[in-house]
């Protein structure tokens, strides 16, 4: 997607988080955080030039994208340097810019709770919520800083 669309998606996901109780609705609260963090990281990666702004949308299969055509139709294609599904999926061939490294590290922390707590029946408690919240806020802070400082007129704060 384009940078401004990623930021708009983050705004939607962030607002949706507020609808969910972090403990009672952990799975959805978490998934909105994960989706929002990924959206902002994708925007920041476009700002750094590591990936490209385009209308190639990730499927669940790395490097396979739904590519939108001008007539509104779409097709599956193999593409590179496009939006990530999650951090590390697909892996980027270039090093992560220093300015984004802590966002990636925080996103990886957030990802560690996905399988045990959402896909399986791992413990969901205040400690888990706090760890996820901290990781999410770090992703947002760092990615937003990159977007704001480098892309004129676009910011997420």
């Amino acid at each position: 997607m384009k940078i401004e669309q990623h930021v708009a998606k983050w705004e939607r996901f962030d607002a949706l988080r507020a609808d969910f109780d972090p403990l009672d609705d952990f799975e959805m609260w978490y998934w909105m955080a994960l989706s929002g963090a990924t959206a902002l990281i994708n925007a920041a990666l476009h700002v750094t030039g590591l990936t490209e702004e385009n209308r190639c949308f990730p499927t669940q299969v790395p490097d396979v994208y739904v590519v939108m055509h001008d007539d509104g139709s779409s097709s599956h294609q193999i593409r590179f340097r496009c939006d990530l599904i999650h951090v590390g999926l697909p892996e980027l061939s270039d090093p992560i810019p220093r300015a984004l490294q802590s966002a990636f590290a925080a996103a990886h922390v957030l990802e560690t709770y996905r399988d045990p707590c959402v896909r399986a029946d791992g413990p969901i408690n205040e400690g888990v919520v706090a760890a996820c919240e901290a990781a999410y806020q770090e992703c947002v802070r760092v990615a937003a800083s990159v977007i704001h400082s480098s892309y004129d007129g676009h910011h997420a704060s």
Binding site: F13, D19, F57, D121
Partner: protein
């Protein structure tokens, strides 16, 4: 390392996520699609374990990750459930990860598909114990009989 999810745990998780989705308005289509995917996948895993298609240690995380053999088997035993999960996954690139404008209709459709999956899952029983043979899949014949004429 994740523990093994027994069928009841998948059902509990699915129902928990469905309960959370009740807090979403229909305009929150991204949340509804993602929730339908998460809950639908739990229902899907519940069903394939009950059907006897897969062991509890062989969970599916996404419909795209089904092996060819398992996909074929599910398509014969629970075709509507598989089609519904496939459709939910197909919505995600356009409406969740992409910029295609969604609307209430999209949110409604996600919940309809989730309902199809949960309904199929709750009626699942071991396929090898079913009294009636399963209806044949509608597919082209793999072999064409040789016509001597």
């Amino acid at each position: 390392m994740m523990g093994i999810m027994l069928p009841k745990l998948h059902r509990d998780k699915a129902e928990r996520i469905e309960h959370s989705l009740n807090k979403c308005s229909m305009t929150n289509y991204e949340a509804l699609i993602e929730g339908a995917m998460l809950a639908g996948t739990h229902w899907f895993n519940y069903a394939v374990h009950i059907y006897g298609i897969a062991e509890p240690s062989e969970d599916t995380m996404h419909a795209e990750y089904l092996t060819g053999a398992r996909r074929l088997k599910v398509s014969l035993i629970a075709p509507q459930m598989l089609a519904a999960l496939d459709e939910i996954e197909s919505m995600r690139p356009h409406f969740v990860r992409g910029d295609v404008a969604g609307c209430e209709k999209v949110g409604h459709r996600a919940l309809e598909l989730l309902n199809i999956i949960s309904t199929a899952a709750l009626s699942a029983r071991p396929y090898q114990l079913q009294e009636q043979p399963l209806p044949p899949a509608q597919e082209p014949s793999l072999y064409t009989a040789h016509d001597p004429s």
